[in-house]
């Protein structure tokens, strides 16, 4: 699975990437939405892990942009705020899920399993035949 991590805090981006690579993912990191857009254009990304607060940019607004371009791309929001403060807004804007910092390996494992199940559903033959032009 190819995961794009969008977080303006390099330490967190690095450790999240390390953890995901430990779980068998290929990872890419971006500190800005511009960098993220470039990577999304260059790589076939399977999921995005996106921080809610990106210094001067809004993670929520980038989420809305990503969802408007592809409803099939799972975007997991991560945040240092509480789940109650963030989950409502994130899910309303189309986020796949929320991860509250700090998260551990088990949290990431669980997210990856959900993402994989989502990808399998999208790629299922039944769904593909529903979408095939008549």
């Amino acid at each position: 699975m190819k995961i794009l991590i969008v977080d303006d805090k390099p330490n967190l981006a690095r450790v999240t990437a390390l953890a995901l690579r430990g779980l068998g993912c290929e990872t890419f990191t971006a500190g800005t939405t511009a960098g993220a857009i470039q990577l999304l254009a260059a790589e076939k990304i399977d999921a995005v892990f996106l921080d809610v607060n990106l210094d001067r940019e809004s993670g929520f607004e980038f989420l809305s942009l990503l969802v408007s371009q592809s409803t099939d791309l799972p975007v997991v929001m991560f945040t240092a705020q509480t789940r109650e403060e963030v989950a409502g807004e994130a899910l309303r804007r189309g986020a796949f899920d929320c991860l509250v910092k700090p998260f551990g390996m088990d949290d990431l494992r669980e997210q990856l399993a959900r993402i994989q199940a989502h990808i399998n559903r999208i790629n299922s033959p039944a769904r593909r035949s529903n979408q095939a032009p008549s």
């Binding site: 390390l18 240092a80 910092k101 390996m105």
Partner: protein
Amino acid sequence: MQLPVFARDIAVSAAGKAFGNIEIMEAASLGEIENTASAGTPVFLIIHSTATELTGVLNACSPSGEPRWAIAVLGAHSKKGIETLLPEEWPPQLLACVFRRIFEQHELRCENLRLRGDLRTVGRRISHDLRSPIGSVYTSTDVLSEISATDAETSRELAATIKESVSEILQLVNQVSFVSLASTDTVTPSRVDMGALVADVLQRLDQKVQETGATIVVPSTWPDVVGVANWLVVVWTNLVENALQHAGPNPKIQFSWTAMPKSFRFILSDNGPGVPATRVADLFLPFNQLHCISGRGLGLSSVQRLVALQGGNCGYEKLPGGDASFYFTLPGVS
């Protein structure tokens, strides 16, 4: 500002008596006041209730959001919503006392706003900013644990130690920010189904309960109360965790409640050794006094603050059979 002549003379005399050596300025408009008063200079404004810019003056705020000036409104009649000093309250000596009180109140209000802002900063910004680096350490140690699982036992133990320490720091950050925000945010209490709430708390604490082998006894019915649900979750969680920590081996924890004339008393008792008599007095030490002591957890002080914010009180007593009993009260649904 815009005072009739006779009222002006009395006001100037009273201001002199109240504040001693004071510079008297006259202004006909809000703009004139802002132009003539230097930034940072305390201003005491005396205005007549018929002044055209009364509302603007009363609502004026400094850039930091505090009331701009201490204000005394003099008038011939009471004005709805505006505290007006009527002519019978104008003897200079009496007026001087009132002016001093108004000024002190203004200073206290400004300080209160600043301190509440500080608390909000702690509750939101600092705790949020701390969670990011703490998160890095936490996730790093989790990765280390996995990587070192097949390696040296020492590495795993070290990683476990770091992770536990980080969890403690996180818990502290969460507790402080929660109580800080509860103390400063405006929240309206509402009807709470206490039975459902307690069930939720016990579900969240299920793992800890299992680890201690505790027996939990709950009543078959619960009342509805007036409160703030997520605060009550923290109250009960802290009380149960306190009981699990101090009740000793094979703890038995019992929930109960009693109806009082306009409130309910909720009780959590355990079969532990209880609290030494010398520690009972400061068991629920108010949160704002915690800086006076060290080495004390925040749990029960957080309970005290959250219960007080909902109009209740809390306490401890030793039951006749020897069980330790912690209780708090809450208003009932009218």
